[in-house]
Amino acid sequence: MENLQAVDMKERKPKQIFVQGAISPAFIADSIQKHSTRHDIGGHSIFLGQVRADTIEEKPVAAIEYTTYEEMALEKMLEIREAIFSKYDLTCMHVYHSLGKVAAGEICLFVFTSSKHRRMAIDACTELVEKIKFELPVWGKELFEDESYQWKENK
């Protein structure tokens, strides 16, 4: 994995991070499993964003529909990836974000960092989540059951 990422970085080739619909727990398990061959990893830090059924004017959010400016988002993600790799001593970094509809209770964001030591993995993951929320051109539309909607705002 390290070698692939080193190549990616040299070529500055954006990596796909978007997946259609919700991210399944089985996909997350697979991703964790793949790291068992890396015997230099001591800690993994994972953040999962889950769609919350906030109640707005008495109507609960049933799903969020995500859209993106994909070309720009993938270039931005490459920049973020390079910044995080140069700041933290990581073994691997993986980011997946949903597009399209994700129902309340489902996972829409999966951020996964691994390092020899726990602090590096944890700090890198925390910073990545903030950057993803505030720097990636992605928009969430909160859909109510009656087909009305409201645009999501990040805090």
Binding site: T68, E75, H97, V129, K133, F134, L136, P137, W139, K141
Partner: protein, 77 residues
């Protein structure tokens, strides 16, 4: 000559479409003036302009083949 502009997120509620065209202008200040005339609600909306996939700072020259996009505040994750 026309410029094509891609609209994202809640701004599509104002423009009614995610792709709009306006008569060619030479920079982003002129672009914003033209857009606000055509869609007055853009005057109070929060957004930034991206030219060729970079968010611009200040007035920026536009070419016929520039990729232009209006981006409201991001709300991913």
């Amino acid at each position: 000559m026309e410029l094509q502009i891609t609209i994202f997120g809640q701004l599509t509620d104002i423009t009614g479409s995610s792709n709009i065209r306006i008569p060619a202008v030479s920079n982003t200040d002129e672009l914003l003036a033209a857009l606000k005339q055509q869609y007055p609600a853009l005057g109070t909306a929060k957004f930034v302009v991206a030219v060729n996939k970079k968010i611009i700072q200040g007035n920026t020259a536009l070419a016929a083949n520039s990729s232009i996009a209006l981006l409201p505040p991001f709300s991913g994750g």
